[in-house]
């Protein structure tokens, strides 16, 4: 089963997202990176993340934009600059509908965005969308 990488520094938001994924009956394993640097380390298999069996490359990154150390949009830029991560879907989590982050997300190659917290419905929709795209 393919892995989802959730990049989110707020514990509460991690909790709500996990709940929503469960409620949406999405069975994929979820790994959490608590800041931008951890996300980069995870994706590049650096340090504690060297073991790909334990920390497999995700097919989907749920990316919060307000992160310590490396900001979400920089993580997105970093991912899109590496051809080996071409297949990774990036869904951005923003806190406001009007954030100029949304236009930036599109510009930098993000695939989706959600206003936090994403509802069960939105997540089901996303998974259905991805399944269609992947098959």
């Amino acid at each position: 089963m393919k892995t989802i990488l959730l990049v989110e520094d707020t514990e509460d938001d991690v909790f709500f997202l996990m709940r929503a994924l469960k409620a949406a009956e999405i069975p994929n394993p979820v790994q959490v990176a608590a800041d931008g640097q951890q996300a980069l380390d995870y994706l590049s298999g650096t340090g504690v993340y060297a073991d790909r069996a334990t920390y497999p490359l995700p097919f989907l990154v749920l990316l919060d934009l307000k992160l310590p150390y490396v900001m979400g949009l920089d993580v997105l830029k970093w991912i899109r600059a590496r051809p080996e991560f071409d297949g990774i879907i990036v869904a951005v989590l923003t806190s406001s509908q009007q954030d100029h982050d949304i236009t930036e997300t599109t510009r930098l190659g993000g695939n989706f965005y959600f206003v936090k917290p994403p509802s069960k419905q939105k997540l089901i929709e996303l998974m259905r969308n991805l399944a269609e795209n992947l098959s």
Partner: protein
């Protein structure tokens, strides 16, 4: 204008002649100064200016001709006209000598008083004219200096104002950034409050009594209200800080899209009708969307309980300006509230009858202004309102 008195120097070794001259010239009303010799005349010329010098030629010591030559040599007195007074017949030679020493005229003794007065009068006028000119030049120079000083002061003031304006702008910008970032950060804990309350409502419902379930519901809806408020403040502050690209926007297409896509803008809940085809306007698409959806949202919200909102949208197109009209069948606005409703945090209804943040119309106004437009309203209490949005025609 009163002319200043000028000095006239009379030089003669005969006191009787001096008295006679003085008696003649008195009527001209100037300062008459006597000198009994060429030397004394030269002394007078050291510290005074004269309009004319009447100079006897035949004097012991320095003769009139010698005195005139000395006067001409001095820078200070070089320009002063000299009239020679002579008792002898003027020979060709004496005249030549006199003129080359700087005389401007001759008068033969015995002196004819009317001729003397006429000739001296001319030089008085000349001196006065020169003085006037001199004064005027001085005054103008003074004025020019004053003007240039005033200009300098003005420039300094201007620079000071400019730098103060720049400082103020920086402060305002900083404040807006600050409030934006605070509002932004307030949403995370708020999200947590609402999230956990909702989890409890879902999962602990059976173990709680009705009253406690009600409290949870209140926590949830209060945090949602606060979240909406913050969202509106953010939009408002974002509108103030941002610069937009304005371009031609097809209002018809945009409005139909808004009505189709926004939840709660479709029948049977509401009846929104667009009359005719709306024109192309000069706007920013996202900002215009915000304006229209706020106006439509209000039109739908402010109806008497149980009434289906009926909204008609139409446009007046002129050469330079397009007015979009949004007419509703709502509760209308009291005449004395018409001016207030576009202000920030203004609510004219109680929170229980019509809930809102009081920012919606301020956003519309600021958005309209940012697009070079205007917003306003006509209304009859109890019958409905007609909001208008004026935008430039591209």
């Amino acid at each position: 204008m009163i002319e200043p008195r000028v000095n006239i120097l009379m030089v003669d070794d005969e006191p009787a002649n001096l008295i006679a001259l003085e008696a003649t010239l008195e009527e001209l009303g100037q300062n008459l100064i006597r000198a009994k010799s060429g030397t004394e005349a030269l002394r007078q010329l050291l510290d005074k200016d004269f309009a004319v010098i009447l100079l006897d030629i035949q004097m012991p010591g320095l003769s009139g001709i010698e005195t005139a030559a000395a006067i001409r040599e001095r820078e200070r007195s070089r320009h002063i006209p000299i009239i020679f007074l002579t008792g002898m017949d003027k020979t060709q030679e004496a005249m030549f000598e006199g003129y080359s020493a700087g005389a401007v005229d001759y008068l033969l003794k015995p002196i004819q008083t009317n001729v003397l007065i006429a000739k001296v009068g001319v030089f008085i006028e000349l001196a006065q004219a020169r003085q006037r000119l001199h004064q005027e030049v001085e005054e103008r120079t003074k004025t020019a200096v004053e003007i240039s000083m005033l200009n300098q002061a003005l420039e300094d003031k201007n620079r000071e104002l400019e730098s103060r304006t720049a400082e103020l702008q920086d402060t305002v910008q900083e404040l807006e950034r600050y409030s934006y970032s605070i509002s932004h950060d307030m949403r995370a804990p708020l999200r947590a409050m609402k999230g956990y309350a909702d989890v409890l409502i879902e999962e602990a419902a059976t173990t709680l009594n009705d009253e406690h379930r009600g409290f949870l519901q209140k926590i949830s809806s209060a945090s949602q209200r606060l979240d909406r408020l913050i969202e509106d403040v953010l939009s408002y502050s974002l509108l103030s800080r941002s610069k937009f690209n304005l371009k031609s926007v097809d209002a018809d297409e945009l409005l139909r899209e808004i009505i189709e896509q926004y939840p709660g803008f479709q029948p049977p809940e509401v009846d929104i009708r667009i009359e005719g085809k709306l024109p192309v306007v000069w706007a920013n698409e996202a900002t215009l969307t915000q304006c229209i959806s706020n106006l439509l949202g209000n039109a739908i919200k402010f109806v008497p309980k149980g009434t289906q909102p009926k909204i008609v949208i139409r446009a007046d197109v002129h050469d330079k300006e397009t007015t979009l009209w949004i007419e509703d069948n709502g509760i209308g606005i009291d005449a004395h509230d018409l001016d207030r409703i576009f202000g920030i945090f203004v609510k004219v209804h109680s929170a229980t009858s019509y809930a809102g943040t009081g920012i919606g119309l301020s956003i519309v106004r600021r958005a309209a202004e940012k697009m070079g437009g205007q917003v306003g309203v006509e209304s009859t209490l109890g019958k409905g309102s007609r909001f208008w949005l004026k935008l430039k025609t591209p």
